[in-house]
Symmetry: D3
Subunit: 251 residues, 6 copies
């Protein structure tokens, strides 16, 4: 059930049986010479919708732009600053918490979002308690990173070994190929690829990772792999969501 | 050309021929008993993509959540506060301006976004000049509201007269029916509908507009109307975008 | 009744019969070679006081500096950023709402303030509801632009035709001449005046409008015209204020 | 020379001979049963204009609302939060510093503004240096409190002894009587008046100072006293301004 | 009793007999060629602990970095912006007020903190009243500057006359020598030392005070003097704290 | 070398041989019935000083209060909001980066700080690049959590098995016992201790962890263990710091 394709009365009905919601969050950032700029949002959205179908959960519109400041030296990247993303998450959760939602499951497609999301959750819990919203103390947020699912990680290792890398990975590229087969890109990839340098400023990043990849060989990706990753992630995160829903809450 | 389905190298190439970009912005808010919560984002995204195809412009990911605080007494609504939306727009434009974009055409699906967008543009121009980004003084932002297109307005008047209303209108519902025919909703609509009250707080809004509609009869909408509105809006905004691109800029 | 010339006990008494207040807001910005930098504040203040006298409303001190970032390439301009002006409006309204005021009528002298004021109103309604101020849901803000009054517009058209322009207009200059006849300025005005360019950054503005005027011929202004404009605006906005006061409110 | 009654070209000319500017700042707050809510702004504005005439300095529009949170339990008080006032001062100074002003002399009518003004100055110096405005390191701000002038203090002591008190004082009331003789108020004043309690929250303030006065007997004020205070303050602050202008600056 | 060396249950017990707390605040900034960068924090911490022992008060961890923007042109200085320090103080006081603390006694070692602390107190009172924390109206904050104690000032005058100066003073250096005798520094000091210039930007400060001292001769300091200053400050501020605790509060 | 016990000239000298700095960050929060509220700051500070001695690095003053919002339902806890901590880190790093520091090694004692620190680093890199500080692109920040050192983790497992838990752990208590043997606390500890519940709001936390411990048995701690942990952490983090210093930087 997609929030954007529902009416407010349908949401009212939904809230009588569940107060959980899934929020896909991605990023709009360079993914190397062949990866789509929307990769992280595409993966998060597709998998979130899969989890929504599998669990009956309502799925919020995708947060397409996240925290990607370190990629901003490449054209096409759009990033929120962490302080902006914190406010955005606070506003999303506050709007929904006032309506009765209490379990916020963020399905995330971008490693760079994790720290800011966690900071935003802390900020938001305190904000809601300060507002004295009736259900403030029941609000729970969780970030679930599809690319960190055990099953996904396992398959990526089997298929790609250390060519999986850590950005513009064949696994995420494969999922986008599965979702958008019409947008599979071809471009020359240097056989050598930088790896192992930590992430600091945007200028520093581009100097160390001149084509945008971090230790990955996205040429290994196929749409068929993509479907496998998608299926594994949907299955594992569906279980994760249901556990989250059923976890104890303060009375 | 969709930014999210492009690579950074394709964006680099694009920038050699154009520094314009289209940014769809909608809202996630109640649209009466039969209107989709995603109505404003759906319309803005579809029309923006149409304009992108017609003009060769690159289209950014949709800003799905806008300024809808006055609808937050209805479940399912998500809103940014104006101060958050200003920061979001500033971050989007700054990221893209650093890469060389100078013409930002926001195709907007929600009246409630207009004031905040304009405030955000002013904030952003000054911010970019303060940062001393080389092209700061060339950056231009414009908001183009599809529902205010002359041709759209004209057709809505012909088809619906004063039953068009001003929120959850048959014209916007029609566009969503055209885009998502599988999500056409049925629900009883009271023959009388509130109208004429100004917009203040969320509580006030819901008391005056108990089912969420503002003077509209969305039951008049059809997917065929939707296609007509879509075509008119794409045509008129394509012209608008090209004029914007070609308007004079400081040297 | 001027707030600044009242005591707190007089305000307490006033609140027993009315919870409305008029807030003049102007700007401190260049108005071409002959227009006063304080034009927008002078007009808003004079007209607001006229409306206060005509309706018995209390009038707050004038907000002399507004959102004029696009004029800051001309010396003498002072501008708040939109984000600052939003906080200022929020603080004003919050202070007064805690004391019992609920109807805030901003008489505005500057087009550049409108978007930010509207954004500020939305921000403030939500803020007050979050604070759970008893009367939060009754708070209503409205912006009334004297230069957009139908009667004013009509007269300007009759007197000046298209030489009215849109900044440093003869109509606003006339009002300042009526209020401050001792400060009527003479300076050479080029017969040709720029018009038709949209407003973007401060640098861009000055390049397109080198002497600060936008399509206007302020040399046509006279103090007598000023009195006419003043009278029309006071009359029309007095009616506007009374309608606003009497409009329905949530119970 | 009043900024609001000048044109931008006159300001341009002024800047060729001086980069100093006087900014009156007051407050809009209760001043006991007989003191005007605008007392602090009225005094600051009148004295600032006097100083402007005596020294040839340009005088900015008055900041009518300052930091008066502790008075907000009395109706009619309007206050900015310190964080808002800091932004406001930053925006004022930044606008003017970009045009070439470097010496900012705030003539202040309200003790409650002092701390926030000083904090704002520090914030602004750093901000301007970060922006790399050419004259950033030359910008100097000073707060000059008319009621702390030695000559004013001396006269108040002679005329009123310890009935001067520290809020709603006869000296400031006298100045307003001199400026607005038509707005002299009469109201019963209890012979006993609270004094000696420090200032904390608004609730605490009103409980300790139930009629708003702090140890003062404003019934002693006369318009003639007001003229004396006015003359002394103008003389002393004119000297202060000229010293400030002539103080050494970094090259 | 040090908060950092207590358990939460000990704090719970403490709150049954007192709701007062001492918060040392210093700065991390240049103190001339022989003064320690931590001077202000060292003095504030040592004296605060002395006061805590003398009065049985609990002492919070030291705020080591304060508002020292004007010293940032010297390496080793760390400063918060005033707007950041305001938030920090608000967060400290809010955390503790929710637990039941109501009397906040800031023992301060740095003149540059005073204005911002006072602004922060005002901001915080209003914030707590907005949050509707039960004890909000009882919260009281006070800043106590050890170097402004009458007894300290008197001794400094006796020992050093006008060589006390106003920054990197022998009195504060003496206290650090008493606390950290192992860190007494030797460096050549020019016999002439700048004095009398007001504080503006960091660049301006360093140009006027090239070695960082303001009119002081810290070579006069001895650890024995330091003990004397320490004893006087502890005694005077202990009395100050007890008076503060016993001052009337709203019921 | 401690920054607080250095002079600015010593820092200037230091910068000629190294641009690295160690910043200890802890928290001020409940640590169960026997753990010190300052535990995280005490551990971070002690270990940071050990690393400073071992490597010759300069050590900044400890950030004593971090992000501990989830502990604020226990008295004695002080927390910054994430948004405040981000500003604090930005201000620290900016001050030091302007002086020439480029390598910022945060030795952290509190798991709750990690996400916000990482968000702050991203915010700061972009901020410094926007300011166009000469060395902006060279600035690198890293968070090093002593309790996550492999050797520490290993020892904790050997000594305590699953009684190590995840908050108020015997390992961190042991370090505080080693550093402050005079502050070893005794209090009854229930044999059963809650574990396994995720961290959400402060209210939720206290309901699930009523005495503040998370799965830990701090009664197992001894000062001797503390010394072992201290030694291991100092050794491992000294290596970590040196590697960080020597890692490649953009030219």
């Amino acid at each position: 059930m997609l929030l954007s394709l529902s009416t407010w009365q349908e949401v009212e009905t939904y809230l009588q049986k569940s107060t959980g919601i899934i929020l896909p969050i991605g990023s709009t950032e360079q993914h190397g010479p062949t990866g789509l700029i929307g990769t992280d949002a595409i993966c998060a959205e597709a998998i979130a919708r899969g989890v929504g179908e599998a669990t009956g959960a309502i799925v919020a519109p995708t947060i397409n732009v996240g925290m990607a400041l370190h990629h901003t030296a490449f054209p096409g990247t759009i990033s929120l600053r962490p302080s902006t993303l914190i406010l955005l998450v606070r506003d999303y959760v506050t709007s929904l918490a006032k309506a009765g939602f209490t379990k916020f499951y963020f399905i995330n497609g971008h490693g760079g979002n994790i720290a800011t999301l966690k900071a935003a959750f802390s900020e938001t819990y305190a904000y809601l308690e300060d507002l004295q919203i009736p259900s403030a103390h029941k609000v729970q947020c969780q970030v679930a990173n599809w690319f960190m699912c055990g099953s996904v990680y396992q398959l990526a290792k089997e298929l790609y070994g250390d060519q999986e890398g850590s950005h513009a990975t064949p696994s995420e590229v494969a999922v986008t190929q599965y979702v958008y087969p019409e947008a599979i890109k071809q471009a020359p990839l240097s056989p050598e690829v930088a790896r192992g340098h930590r992430i600091y400023s945007a200028t520093d990043f581009r100097q160390h990772y001149p084509d945008g990849r971090m230790g990955s060989n996205p040429a290994l990706a196929t749409p068929e792999h993509g479907k496998q990753f998608y299926d594994l992630a949907v299955k594992e995160l569906s279980n994760g969501y249901l556990e989250f829903l059923n976890a104890d809450t303060v009375s």
